[in-house]
Symmetry: C2
């Protein structure tokens, strides 16, 4: 048996998220169907983590074990030709049997794409959050700085979260990258709770549009109360950008 580590990109628009579920099209299901065609037997995959319905990945990482002996180039080709066209295969590597896509992930980077403009753009509707009001980017940067560091992020997670136990995480960076009507929020951290990036971004936007003030972040850390923070940003602006091992 050979363990393979595979980078994948997917357009989340037509997926009900990553993880297999009944009566819904998911990324995991499509990849396992592709592996079934290649192996004529069921092969289970393990990802660095899930993504929600409508969320994209530029470089998600999965691993699986295979009895087949293919070169990395042939693995890439075999997977790409059996997958639907909204999933693509990046780097394929043969790794040791103790590598684990989720457990060995040191940190992850997400990018969230926002466009603030009066005009609707029909071509980017599935890949960014379109906001019609202006944003105070400087105020958002101050808020971003307060989120960085090691905190109990209970208030930054969906109430329906299935993460149990300690909710302390370390966020290394929350950076805002601007270019005319666009702003990209890049978040890197050692772990993320359910909807955590989308709540961070929604709160930054609410601070940038004066619906919330800067103090809400400190208050959230002190009270663990989801309600003091801003909205949950919609899924289509979010990309799992990179997983570091």
């Amino acid at each position: 048996m050979q363990r393979l580590k595979v980078q994948i990109a997917y357009d989340g628009t037509l997926f009900s998220g990553f993880q297999v579920q009944v009566n819904a099209r998911t990324v995991q299901e499509e990849i396992e169907k592709s592996l079934m065609k290649i192996h004529q037997q069921a092969i289970r995959i393990y990802a660095s983590g899930r993504t929600d319905s409508g969320v994209h990945a530029k470089a998600q990482v999965i691993h699986f074990d295979s009895p087949l002996d293919l070169t990395e180039t042939n693995w890439k080709r075999a997977l790409q030709t059996t997958l639907p066209n909204d999933i693509s295969i990046g780097k394929v590597e043969k790794v040791s049997r103790d590598f684990h896509a989720r457990k060995d992930a040191r940190d992850k980077t997400y990018r969230y794409f926002i466009r603030y403009s009066k005009d609707y753009d029909v071509f980017s509707r599935n890949h960014e959050w379109h906001i019609r009001y202006p944003l105070d980017i400087e105020e958002m940067k101050k808020a971003a700085a307060q989120i960085q560091g090691t905190h109990d992020f209970t208030s930054f997670s969906a109430s329906k979260t299935n993460v149990k136990g300690d909710k302390t995480r370390t966020i290394h960076n929350v950076d805002l990258l601007e270019s005319d009507e666009h702003v990209v929020v890049e978040v890197t951290g050692d772990g993320f709770l359910t909807h955590m990036v989308r709540i961070i971004v929604g709160t930054l936007v609410d601070i940038g549009s004066k619906r919330k003030n800067l103090q809400c972040i400190q208050e959230a850390f002190e009270t663990n109360d989801r309600r003091v923070l801003g909205q949950t940003a919609p899924p289509q602006g979010l990309f799992l950008w990179k997983v570091n091992y």
Copy 2:
């Protein structure tokens, strides 16, 4: 009655082209449904021309007549809120009753987006033509120059074309705009036959990849034979970019 001239953009991915047809979702049908909601009566629209299934528009132009007395801003809002999210409304203008979106169009500009790269990009699959082989852009520019001018474009149209009569058209410009792995072919002309831009682009690509040689263009004008030209480029790279009056 007031005649309205309206710029619209649409993502052609989920449309079976512009023109109404039975059992297919079309742009015309969606706009006429929107106008039906606004008027509570059927309103017919007229476009500068059709676009094929999967082809996009950045600025298609339509006109229609309405008994309603709305400001241009309110027209824009009324249309946008009743349309699906893959059609968007640009400029709305009140025009005289003798304006006609098709008959008055002086010329049109199309842009065709090509990416040549070994790697597949899942996020642009519906909005460009991905080519895995390198292209000789200089050779393509020479071919582009030969297409410009006034010619009988019979060989540059689909055999199933429903354009009758004279097939002489004037192409003002065929320009290639390059940026690293991308090339955009911009074509401006006074009229276009069925698939004409896609046959121009497919032929340029076949010349750029040495499957066809430069001489095929002159031969096509002399023989009116579709078969001497290159492939028909796929629809998803094509955008109706601008209609000039």
